[in-house]
Symmetry: C3
């Protein structure tokens, strides 16, 4: 098990971020298509879903320049992805259902949790703050996506665990680093824990225990 050198780790984090952005961009395209927004709305909602969480994290951590300012090529990539997705959906008469966006969403959830937590740890944040930054990175893009589409965000409405998965994945990453695991291993383990927990919850339709009062008569 060879430790990657720091530049390799930086590249790994960037690769994880890019994969998460692509996954969330697809969830944004599907959500916008369900709401019958026009082509601009699709690009904006996809952009908010893809860049929103990471940008809020960078504002909170005071990290500049933003990923998408430094590497403007990814903005072009987003526009190309949206155009391709719209042409494909039109050509195939593909009407996305609300379930269709759950799988890219679950994948992006794990990847963003891991990259957000690791980036916050790199700036010297305490563990709980780093975990919270991971959860914010993972969930806030989806919150923005849902708020501009005028819905209560999935993260609050869905009684199947969502933010809890990100929370568990982020602690898995922090825990593995405390146990002395290599950084890249902890990063991938955190992403896997969060994504798999969410996917298991979707498959088994597991609900968080209801807590609200007045229901148990």
């Amino acid at each position: 098990m060879s430790l990657p050198s720091p530049p390799a780790m930086t590249h790994l984090i960037a690769a994880v971020e890019v994969a998460a952005m692509i996954a969330f961009a697809f969830s944004g395209v599907f959500e916008a298509a369900r709401k019958r927004l026009d082509a601009v709305g699709v690009c904006v909602v996809a952009g908010l879903a893809a860049f929103g969480g990471g940008t809020l994290r960078d504002v909170l951590l005071d990290r500049r320049p933003f990923f998408w300012v430094e590497h403007a090529v990814w903005l072009w990539g987003l526009l190309a992805l949206c155009a391709a997705a719209m042409l494909f959906m039109r050509a195939r008469h593909f009407a996305p259902t609300s379930r269709a966006m759950q799988w890219p969403d679950a994948l992006g959830l794990g990847l963003f949790t891991a990259s957000g937590t690791q980036i916050a740890l790199n700036t010297g944040s305490p563990a709980l703050v780093a975990v919270l930054m991971g959860v914010i990175t993972a969930t806030f893009g989806g919150v923005l996506r849902d708020v501009v589409c005028n819905e209560i965000p999935t993260v609050f409405r869905d009684h199947r665990p969502y933010a809890v998965c990100a929370f568990a994945g982020a602690w898995a990453l922090v825990g593995m680093q405390w146990l002395g695991a290599a950084d890249w291993l902890a990063l991938l383990a955190g992403a896997a824990v969060a994504s798999l927990l969410r996917m298991v919850a979707l498959w088994t339709d597991y609900s968080l225990p209801q807590w609200s009062a007045g229901d148990e008569t």
Copy 2:
């Protein structure tokens, strides 16, 4: 009337912030319970209500680190408060009404107004900007709480005075400092003015004069 030393003043501001956060966290818990969100939604809405206003103020003033990054213990406190409130509501079959969150909300309004205005004055902002920062600190947590619950925020919808109370309280604080009052006295007076005005408005059901056209035939 002995002037507190600067560290004492810093501690007083921190104490006022913490009291305001607790009050707003309760308003978030009640609002989330009314919307039947799950346990995660309750914690997130309570967190947005408690930390949202102060965080936006710190982003606008470029103040780092944030309160909750520097003192991560308060994040743990928030989680504990939410867990305790949910267990209590479940045990007592306590279903919060929309009136239940008005009282902690009014208390938090005054406390955040005073701390936000004082913190902005400490960074050398002009009086009107400091007043505005006080109003933002006091109201934005509630705005976030209501936006993620998919409602028009109370602060705009409620025809009883709300932001006006924060505005008056912030000017009271600034005015007392101009008149030469001690900092701690001005701070407490500003908080009291804002909270009491709001409570009086709730008790007497006083409405701001309607201005909208076409109503007075």
Copy 3:
């Protein structure tokens, strides 16, 4: 064609910003009046519409102090404008329709696009990022205005081009600078292109081509 000196250019950008703020403030007042918000709601919605886009741009570019912190007089101006508009609407029994806010909105769109793009270019951003900042400056105030009024933002809902106009205007500005035009000419041309495109779209009721799947049977 004499090149303005840098201070003149700074003043021109500031003048364009102020004109855009006034235009957006009116659109906020009209929207708030349609939703029958109270006097405070009118001022807050007008303020979000007027200052929201520019403030987000400044947060993203890490530019401080904000326009409205440095020149607090404009906050007073906003309050005066809101008071005057409310008194006028009450005196004349003027009930704004949803069409009424389209014209100040179109004007503000162009002006904010130009100032936002130019300010981002001045900080050394790449062209696409500067264009995006122009679009954000132009649209985000309107997004905030609509989100707090609990509507899907116009920019996503309206199938007539909106953000596309800002996009075209921002590229017009960047293109003219590449062609060697004077800065002030490029600034005014960008504003004119964006505003006129939007106004033409409103006049001719032109819609972006529908892309959504399943409609063409």
